[in-house]
């Protein structure tokens, strides 16, 4: 991976964003294991380069849809660690006031159209957002994050077809981490690359090394350019790997140990660090500064979540309809 056009300042920013995600999810996993959080969480450790690479290539006005493994997507899009941690704790100060939890983090102000608990459901929603941009004539584009598992859902094919037919400004970014919970992708598909499916809908299909942040950034930037020029959608397939289980607590018995070790060798954070130091040997101090700052940010986020209050009981029946005095059938 060579530094190419990115200056030291860009590379350090990339590193900081990836580290935020890594430390947030490692801390979340730790707190979850201590039973400090409710429900269950799906951590993004190992796939940071895809989220950061993609979001760094987008403009602030662009939008994304995330998945049940969406902490990284939301942080990379500019999400706050403290508000997200509070949501994981089910607190009133969380992104969704405690009502959504890890699988439903959303920040419409930042263009995060939400994570989703239904596999693949975010794909057509992203296409719909792109349709809105086209109708409104806006410049913004929408990017859908989804996994290799979701690529087998009916809506994946329906959304790609429509987006292609109407040349919608959307990027379909498949994070192929090789596993749908316990089922490896090769057991449930007949093709080496999911990107090949793009040919069926007459749109570009590009495979990219998901652990090389610069490669991801370039691929997404190119796709974003197509979209903004009205040339329609692109299907990107970022080959990557999740270091931890499908959900926290999953023993991952379905993964060969050798495979886990091999992918740990190609950890996206380590690879970026090597690239930075190779191009800017004097950046070591800056890197250490970043590490300290991110650790502080995460620690503060945990304190914020712990000190925040739980939601008031009365709020359990609000936010069902726009006007809460709606005399619905809530009798």
């Amino acid at each position: 991976m060579n530094a190419r056009p990115y200056g030291c300042e860009d590379l350090l920013r990339f590193y900081r964003e990836m580290l935020r995600i890594r430390l947030f999810d490692l801390k979340a996993a730790e707190l979850f294991a201590q039973g400090r959080m409710a429900g269950n969480i799906h951590t993004y450790v190992g796939q940071e380069a895809v989220a950061v690479g993609a979001c760094q290539a987008l403009e602030p006005g662009d939008l994304i849809t995330a998945t049940h493994r969406g902490h990284g997507h939301c942080l990379a899009k500019g999400g706050r660690a403290d508000t997200m941690m509070a949501e994981l704790f089910g607190k009133a100060t969380g992104y969704c006031r405690g009502k959504g939890g890890s699988m439903h983090i959303a920040d419409l102000g930042l263009g995060i159209l939400g994570a989703n608990g239904i596999v693949g459901a975010g794909i057509p929603i992203a296409a719909g957002s792109a349709l809105a941009s086209k109708i409104k004539g806006g410049r913004e584009i929408t990017l859908a994050f989804f996994g290799d598992g979701a690529a087998n859902e009916g809506v994946f094919h329906e959304a790609l077809n429509m987006a292609a037919a109407w040349r919608l400004p959307v990027i379909f970014l498949c994070e192929n981490n090789r596993y749908g919970v316990s089922v490896s992708i090769d057991r449930v598909t007949n093709t080496a690359d999911i990107a090949d499916r793009a040919k069926g809908y007459g749109i570009p299909g590009v495979v990219v090394d998901g652990n090389d942040i610069l490669a991801v950034c370039e691929a997404v930037a190119a796709a974003a350019g197509r979209a903004r020029r009205g040339e329609g959608p692109t299907l990107l397939e970022a080959k990557t790997y999740r270091h931890r289980g499908h959900y926290e607590g999953d023993p991952q018995s379905y993964k060969p140990a050798a495979e886990i070790a091999a992918w740990k060798e190609r950890d996206p954070l380590d690879r970026l660090k090597k690239t930075i130091l190779a191009a800017h040997p004097d950046a070591a101090a800056a890197l250490a500064g970043i590490a300290a700052a991110v650790e502080a940010e995460i620690a503060a986020a945990v304190r914020f979540a712990e000190d925040s209050p739980y939601p008031e009981p009365a709020t359990v029946t609000s936010d069902v309809y726009a006007a809460d005095n709606e005399r619905s059938v809530a009798r």
């Binding site: 089910g90 009502k99 608990g117 239904i118 089922v183």
Partner: protein
């Protein structure tokens, strides 16, 4: 009689029925390699091979659609939905295909298919992983819907469902999987369409099923201490409803309370209350009361989630009100 868990009971049912009839096979997401998220398929692939215990892509519409096709071709498939909430993704296969094919083909074929759907609120899984959606399917002629509350019925109903020639939706509450209970030895079958009077009583009839059965039994003990003798009925099958057992009980108690975890508005309690009040109006000395969740999606935060769950306290208060 042995003391085993709910999930072990379903595992025994699967193993026995697959051994008894080679047309029986099971498919779903993460059932073979991982043995099901609650361990309810552990060991089956080793016993019957990966052909009859199949991991599928995450494609609910295709999985259930394939199940319908296999049933038409003479097999007796069991399809695992992973979470009942995902039924929305393959709703057409359930409402417009498996439920209707026999009738639309004028009785030419049967549809021996079982859809297993783990449901109910468990540890803050939030709105898309905690729902109880059985009421939808009471409204769909052609389907049968069964919901066990204990290991014995879990095994008995699953075996009966697999042997049934009609499509059966088998809802199993996720929080019940680890619970233990006595299960008879041998070829134990629970008849579909038959409720069980779990606790006889004279003053009030409480009808429930699945998880809330246990809340109802707790409430019954509290009420007994207050001189209210509650008869507790476990529906076990919610379509077709065992209306005779309900009327026999009502003829004795003249007071009816229906309790379930699902949303109250439009829940199974509505159909029972409407039908009983119409057909057995003269048996009622008090209005039929219902308990169910408020009309809201299920919140994530534990502080809010517990407010939408039916508790034994709710049942005691409603029973006291009815027996005033």
């Amino acid at each position: 009689m042995r003391e085993i868990t709910f999930s072990e009971a379903t595992l025994e049912a699967m193993a026995e029925e697959m051994a008894r009839d080679e047309r029986v096979f099971v498919m779903g997401e993460d059932i073979a390699r991982q043995g099901g998220i609650f361990g309810q398929f552990k060991g089956l692939p080793q016993q019957f091979g990966l052909d009859r215990v199949r991991d599928t892509p995450i494609s609910e519409t295709a999985i259930v659609g394939a199940g319908v096709g296999a049933a038409l071709a003479g097999m007796r498939p069991v399809v695992d939905m992973h979470f009942a909430d995902f039924i929305t993704v393959c709703m057409d296969e359930v409402v417009n295909q498996m439920a209707k094919i026999r009738y639309m083909f004028g009785g030419q074929c049967t549809m021996p298919l079982v859809l297993r759907a783990p449901d109910g609120i468990i540890r803050s899984a939030a709105a898309q992983h905690s729902q109880s959606l059985e009421a939808w399917f009471v409204h769909v002629p052609g389907l049968k819907v069964v919901i066990p509350s204990n290991p014995a019925d879990a095994k008995g109903l699953l075996k009966a469902a697999i042997r049934s020639d009609d499509p059966v939706l088998y809802f199993e509450h996720k929080a019940l999987f680890p619970t233990k209970g006595p299960v008879p030895d041998g070829d134990h079958l629970t008849p579909i369409g038959k409720a069980a009077v779990v606790r006889p009583g004279r003053d009030l009839t409480v009808i429930s099923y699945s998880m809330t059965m246990h809340r109802a039994l707790e409430a019954a003990e509290t009420l007994a201490g207050q001189g209210i003798d509650a008869e507790i009925i476990d529906l076990r099958t919610i379509s077709p409803i065992d209306i005779d057992t309900i009327y026999a009980s009502l003829a004795k108690t003249h007071r009816l309370l229906i309790v379930h975890e699902a949303v109250k508005a439009g829940g199974v309690g509505a159909e029972i209350a409407a039908r009983v009040a119409e057909e057995a109006f003269d048996l009622l000395d008090a209005p039929i009361a219902r308990i169910g969740a408020p009309f809201v999606p299920i919140p994530f935060s534990p502080a809010l989630e517990k407010l939408v769950k039916t508790t034994a306290g709710d049942i005691v208060r409603a029973a006291q009100q009815l027996c005033r």
